[in-house]
């Protein structure tokens, strides 16, 4: 049965978000994004082949092992299209054909999916390794979320213990997640574990990836990339969003004026400002009196009297009692 002719469960083209758990790749190159891709030979059926692009890009790094936990597609379908050199470096754990091990062939890993995760860590050689989980949604539907989170964190730790080197360079766990299948709870929980979160949307022609990168003890960075996927499964990065889907650009965002939406008026007109400046305040003394008051004088023995006549005082040196009506 040719793998391409069988239609898979149709998935919407803008629904996959990918997570990269535990430790990110050392280099964040632009072509490390995976996206649902329509294979060129099927034409009208837009099949999603996310992990293949994943694996292809992972394998560009020389000598790096890639382990795949495949739950959603069969192994033949997954490996089709890769040349033999890449296929020989893929280690595939098949959970698609017989997830519950009914056939009892003895090949399956013990312990169910959780046991498989642990076994994957034990079987990896020390050195840079990428583990791709296709998909985390499949695991979340069958395992408790807390147990899955603990297993994901344990993977990187075990690998670091065995490898002996810094964990950051050793293990990269890549998890695929179907965003529309889960509520905010599991999404939030997995998101808090992930160091990089890539949210994909769009179609094969124009797709966007929102990347949130959270390194420990640093500010998270958020960026958006637009790209399209070429028939040979490589990525073509585009500069900005395609023109027809761009909203009207807003070049000058007006500065938020905090005094603009109040029920009282905080602004002063020119006349009001002049009137305010020319107002004499009751305790506004001359500057020499201010300075004298600020710096305490030689002591209480000498006291000075400051007299500043205001506009209503009428000083007549000859007759100080002239204004009295005596």
């Amino acid at each position: 049965m040719p793998p391409h002719a069988q239609p898979r469960v149709p998935q919407p083209s803008n629904g996959k978000s990918r997570r990269q758990d535990s430790v990110p790749k050392p280099k964040q190159r632009p072509d490390t994004f995976r996206k649902p891709v329509s294979t060129a030979d099927t034409g009208s059926h837009h099949h999603q082949r996310p992990p293949r692009l994943t694996v292809r890009i992972c394998l560009r790094k020389s000598g790096e092992q890639v382990h795949i936990l495949g739950c959603e597609v069969s192994e033949e379908e997954f490996r089709a299209g890769f040349d033999s050199s890449i296929n020989s470096r893929l280690v595939y754990y098949d959970f698609f054909r017989d997830p519950l091990n009914w056939a009892q062939t003895g090949e399956a890993l013990p312990g169910g999916p959780l046991g498989a995760l642990q076994a994957m860590c034990e079987r990896t050689d020390p050195g840079p390794v990428t583990v791709a989980l296709d998909s985390l949604s499949w695991l979340l539907l069958r395992l408790p979320c807390a147990a899955l989170c603990q297993a994901l964190c344990a993977m990187s730790r075990q690998h670091a213990c065995r490898g002996g080197g810094p964990a950051a360079e050793q293990l990269c766990v890549l998890g695929l997640l179907h965003r529309e299948l889960h509520g905010p709870g599991p999404m939030g929980a997995l998101s808090s574990l992930a160091q990089t979160e890539v949210t994909l949307s769009g179609t094969a022609g124009q797709a966007s990836a929102h990347i949130l990168c959270r390194r420990p003890r640093q500010r998270p960075t958020l960026e958006t990339l637009w790209f399209s996927v070429l028939p040979d499964l490589s990525l073509d990065l585009q500069g900005g969003p395609p023109l027809e889907s761009q909203p009207h650009p807003d070049p000058h965002t007006p500065q938020v004026d905090p005094a603009s939406h109040l029920t009282f008026n905080l602004h002063l007109s020119k006349r009001e400002r002049e009137a305010k400046d020319s107002l004499t305040l009751p305790f506004q003394f001359s500057s020499e009196k201010q300075q004298a008051l600020l710096r305490p004088g030689p002591g209480p023995a000498t006291s000075r009297i400051f007299y500043e006549p205001d506009v209503f005082d009428d000083l007549d040196p000859e007759d100080p009692d002239g204004d009295l009506d005596v």
Binding site: P144, C145, A146, A147, C149, Q150, C153, A154, R157, G183, P184, G185, P186, G188, A189, S192, L193, L212, R214, R217, Q218, R219, P220, L222, T253, Q255, V256, P258, A259, L266, L281, F283, Q284, Q290, L293, L294
Partner: protein
Amino acid sequence: MAAVATCGTGAGSTGSMVAAGSKNNVTSFQRRGPRASGSDSSYSRLVSIAGTRPSVRNGQLLVSTGLPALDQLLGGGLAVGTVLLIEEDKYNIYSSLLFKYFLAEGIINGHTLLVASAKEDPADILQELPAPLLDDNVKKDFDEDACNHKTAESNIKMKIAWRYQLLPKMEAGPVSSSRFGHYYDASKKMPQELIEASKWHGFFFPEKSSSTLNIEPCSLTHGYIKLLQFIQNTIYEEGFDGSNPQKKQKNILRIGIQNLGSPLWGDDICCTENGNSHSLTKFLYVLRGLLRTSLSACMITMPTHLIQNKAIISRVTNLSDTVVGLESFIGSERETNPLYKDYHGLIHIRQIPRLNNLIYDVSDVKDLAFKLKRKLFTIEGWRGRSFPNLKI
């Protein structure tokens, strides 16, 4: 008891000792002298625990949280025997910084530490602690910061409040190691010899957990049971609850629990709404009982933004003593809002306890914002652009 109370004690544990000491006497006034009972002599030892001071309000024994600004907001510090709950910000940057300040303060003061985490190894957490700022360096930085901050404003001579022109602009200053509350440099790490000289116990849940047990509903999850047992054993063996009369100096146990309630502890309140909603609340209840009967203070960081059932958050708030929420502006629309441009986030004081007291000890400023400068974490009252900032 009134005469004895001038030593400034009032915590629950000492209260029980007072009751035990005075029940043989007719009156509660006790003479301080060679005739005094054994519990009296312990008061003078209790007061002189390093890194503590009595509260000015009610004599409650306080320890510093590691951040002098937060100490002021909480009424002088964190009371011994209580729980401080920090609601984490979205990306867990500033809450982990506060956690590290708390532990670093314990190391500087010589307290015993108990660090519990399900995500990071406690040994790694201790390696990342910030370095304390020494006096002369801090003084220079404070003066620099004061100059930068005030150059724009000092040129305006005050017209109405001219009597305040000569008052010093900056009141908070650096502290020496003998004082309460220290400043830390977040860009440098604590010297290795200080960490090695300190006494600490680590609880890393993935190492301690055995195979998964079957848990009945409404009971504690496995991780919480283990953690409570660990804390209880530490308190008992080290004598923090007064069970073994210690010949040596009494000390404070600082407990730090990171990311409590996250799925890594085995709790699913962050994943579903209808999970085991009583596990975390039971844990906090038992923990508070352990703390009240021992000389310890606890700081917990919890990712409350992930908890799906909002009723749990209010129960958790009720079961904790002091609750502080952090909200950072990263990634939100407030980051570009010019009103918030000077700050990195908001601090919400959700709850302050009434310990041996009838009234709260809240600060007057309710809108608080924080910013992490290159070395210091400052908290200021935020009033927006039109009004001057209140520096507290």
